[in-house]
Symmetry: C2
Subunit: 572 residues, 2 copies
């Protein structure tokens, strides 16, 4: 992973250069955010393909075959927030890019015709893709696999990306070649669409791999890590059995489950969308309750959800999707939620932002809460590109604006995920302060997370939430920079040597936990600097007022961390 | 005008207090902006009626019966820009408010039911208005005149305000009681709608007027001013004959007439929408080529436009409306433009923002350029509150976002008026730097405006545009603070004693031209401070990149004033 590939879509030039010295310690999010900071004019229009760039980077561990370590980082200026964006996905593309020796692919410029970027051990090419535009991501991916072989990995946009909607995702293929692992948040699919790049296709087959620094040590370290993952109750038991949807019960009981457009923290239909119900349906219909999104993963928190007819509906039906298009819309049917997820995948959309946008639309009277068929139809409008579809596809803030509403759960233009900040206050701090906007993946403070030197933190209290958010924002940025899945934190935060050993074996010596936290911190600070140059100020680092003013049933709690404290979170 | 009326819509409390000492020299925009700065939390949601306020204030001269001096200032936090907004209108309301002795009416809080605020010499009341909601502004105004008498003055919202669209205007009645004089820009109609106030009705009949400081001197000064207005070629000849539409020809010949969504500066159908054609149609159909919007006006630049059937279509058909819904949409029919204007008035919409939004919609393929019938239908959707209507009614930036477009002529979320900044560069500086967003009324630098100490400025050159914009932004803020129409500048900038004499006669001594420029400067600086606290930075003080990059046919000019110079415009 010692090369940077720059692809200029305007003139078709493709250039491979060695990694510059100043970037030698950077991969993943640390690298994508640094390249965006250094090279994208902060005030440019995010859809101006001549200025904005789209950067793909695997992490140092993405080619190691370690469990939960093959994630991909995608960076650019966000059409949704107007700030910097790092969006992150599982799937097989990160390893494929890394195995070809690329530390980053930087897409520059914009083409007048639709193309596919094809990378193999033998070379690279931009090939015509006019026949794929407007087709669903799944359909277009099928065509690409037929054209370039079943073993390819890919990143592909769907109709939403071609429409340049600010909720458009970049869909990354899983181990079966199905583009079901989105780099979803922040509309980077629209940036790819603005460059008229339909897909990146990578075939790393036949490539002689760069050997790790110490293969024997790596085998031992990855084995120890896998064992630690399996030994932890979260990554070894709850996630493999129920998937991420295991959280519905606990978050509902905590009173922090977004319901009815964030008007309640508890959903009477929670059992109908929870992990046990999900598992029961999957087992009864012959689906898969566990499924890996990347090679080597022992957690396998993904799943394959079938319809009553036994035909696959969607894979990777996850907690955030289920909440945003379930309880948040007062919909208690997993079949409806799965259909909404399926359509989002086909069109290439962020399920969180779309679920939140539909919640706001329901609050404004465009649809009734609980109307699953109506929600499916509304999502269908996006695929057709109708005015209604384009409005919903513009995201929660745009819908709130068009409907004249103040109750819109978003920060910096991006909707919140499945954690109400009135009961998950550390996550509220992350929503408010992360340069990503309201993004749980930037530092999600789940109940009883241990803050070093303090102990487990009660997320419903005011104390220590700012410190916890700051700590987890560093950890998340570090993990995003190495290719690590967030679920690998369960054993690593207890014993960082699990990670340090793998890094030393894969990359070479000189890693410390403090050094990794510092890498995370520097990465976040780089992102903050980009945002400041783009026009963000402390006035943007705040939750909407209603979280402080409207008590959340059933607990009646509010977000009550003083704004002055919130603003300290990312202060140097 | 020594009292402030505070109306709390939440609990119905109405309080009259003397003007505090610190505001004693402030009226109009100077006062509305100061009150918004002092009392509205800068980060609040503009539609949060419990925090945002709506302030109405006449100017010192609004009750003087001087020509062109009866304008009304309306202030609040803008739902369109997210910054401070002062929107300004003609009509009879400013004088009526002033004659009742109020220097400002401050609307606070929000009601659960729709109401009308009624002010007379005998008192004040909030009365039910449920029967008016959803009716057009004209229809509702008819009902109010039947209910409260034909001599009332009023400010009223239409369906757009009730829908809380960020393009909603506040419609102010003219001398015939017709609500045809909008305080249009920035969506303050939605702020009024968020408070569920349908209208303010003022009957100042029977009120004993506060006498001016020196009645005899005032008569002499207003007479001299009226004579000077009539003696100036612009205010005495061009405006009375052709109205503001006189500008179509010169701006088209200059190559700065927004055409085809700001893709050309010259329109082949310009003659069809120009002042001579307008005059010809009005005369042929028996309309009025001159019509005053306020008592005492000698310029009378307004008009009454009839359809081919001889029935009134719209009054006050103005240059900016004609350009934004004419050449900007490649529509060359004044009948179509008049129909679009009529619908905007009925729904209570900003014609500039809606014209710009439809231009962007046409650019994005929602409608064909030149399709007048389609444009009329599209506007009709706003009145019906359909998703398409709500999208267009969200303004040009929202439409651009939903359609994934970069070519959107707006600054700080607000669309530009009828002057392309590539050929009217000083106005471009104003668009970029005014705290109001891209608002020509904040400092419109027309060709050959004289910059003191320099002489007439060529708007197509780079030189002196920043100084000219700074100077005119001060003048505009001062005029907006006194109740003066912008057209009164023609004689006043040549001879400020015309204004100083009127002020001294009306208010009392101690006025200087430098003092007025300083009042304007302080007002703009107050607005800048509000915006900074609301989260605006220098990154917001810029034109969209395409104005610097895309040469404007037919001259091929770009906006080429260095950004570093632009940023100096409002620096202390």
């Amino acid at each position: 992973m010692n090369k940077i590939l720059r692809v200029n879509l305007t003139n078709g030039a493709m250039t491979t250069v060695p990694v510059p010295n100043r970037w030698r310690k950077l991969t993943g999010r640390a690298l994508t955010s640094t390249i965006v900071y250094e090279e994208v004019p902060p005030t440019c229009h995010p859809l101006d393909g001549s200025k904005n760039k789209l950067v793909f980077s695997p992490g140092f561990l993405s080619t190691s075959l370690a469990s939960s370590a093959g994630r991909l980082s995608v960076g650019g200026k966000s059409p949704l927030t107007g700030g910097i964006k790092e969006s992150n996905s599982g799937g097989t593309l990160a390893a494929a890019i890394g195995n070809l020796g690329y530390r980053a692919i930087v897409l520059e410029g914009e083409s007048h015709r639709w193309q596919v970027l094809v990378l193999t051990k033998d070379g690279m090419a931009l090939e015509p893709a006019d026949d794929l535009v407007g087709r669903t991501s799944y359909d277009a991916a099928d065509a690409l696999r037929r054209r370039y072989g079943q073993r390819i990995a890919m990143a592909i946009i769907g109709p939403a990306g071609a429409l340049r909607l600010p909720t458009a995702a970049i869909m990354v293929s899983d181990m079966d070649g199905v583009p079901s692992r989105p780099a979803a948040r922040g509309g980077l699919g629209a940036v790819m669409g603005s460059k008229r790049l339909q897909a990146i296709v990578v075939d790393s087959g036949g490539m002689k791999k760069n050997p790790p620094a110490n293969p024997k040590k790596l085998r031992a370290a990855t084995k120890r890590f896998a064992q630690a993952l399996m030994a932890h109750p979260a990554s070894g038991k709850s996630l493999p059995i129920y998937g991420t949807d295991a959280l519905v019960g606990p978050i509902d009981r905590l009173g922090g489950l977004p319901t009815h457009n964030f008007r309640s923290g508890s959903f009477e239909g929670a059992a109908g969308i929870g992990g046990e119900q999900l598992r029961e349906i999957i087992l009864a219909r012959g689906g898969k309750t566990t499924h890996p999104c990347m090679p080597g993963c022992v957690v396998q928190c993904s799943n394959i959800y079938l319809g009553p007819d036994g035909v696959e509906r969607v894979r990777g039906l996850e907690f955030e999707t289920i909440v945003l298009s379930g309880s948040n819309l007062s919909i208690d049917s997993l079949d409806v939620v799965a259909e909404l997820n399926r359509l989002c995948n086909l069109y290439g959309l962020d399920t969180i932002e779309i679920g939140a946008a539909m919640g706001v639309a329901m609050d404004g009277g465009l649809l009734s809460f609980g109307d699953g068929a109506g929600a499916v139809n509304m999502l269908g409008e996006i695929g057709k590109g109708t005015p209604l579809g384009r409005l919903i596809g513009s995201g929660a803030v745009a819908v709130g604006r068009a409907l004249g509403l103040t109750h819109v759960p978003a920060v910096k233009g991006q909707a919140m995920a499945a954690y109400d900040p009135r009961r998950l206050k550390g996550t509220g701090v992350t929503y408010a302060t992360s340069p990503m906007g309201a993004d749980h993946t930037a530092g999600n403070c789940l109940p009883n997370t241990v803050l070093p030197g303090v102990g487990p933190i009660d997320t419903t209290k005011r104390e220590h939430q700012v410190e916890l958010s700051r700590y987890l924002q560093k950890v998340a940025a570090a993990f995003d920079s190495l290719g690590l899945c967030w679920f690998s934190r369960y054993p690593i935060l207890d014993d960082p040597t699990l990670l340090l050993d793998m890094l030393e074996a894969q990359v070479g010596g000189g890693w410390t936990w403090d050094g990794l936290l510092d890498l995370g911190w520097q990465t976040v600070q780089t992102e903050v600097m980009f945002n400041q140059a783009a026009g963000f100020t402390e006035a943007d680092d705040r939750l909407p007022d209603f979280f402080r003013e409207e008590p959340l049933p059933p607990t009646g709690d509010t977000f009550d961390i003083p704004q002055g404290e919130v603003l300290q979170t990312l202060k140097p």
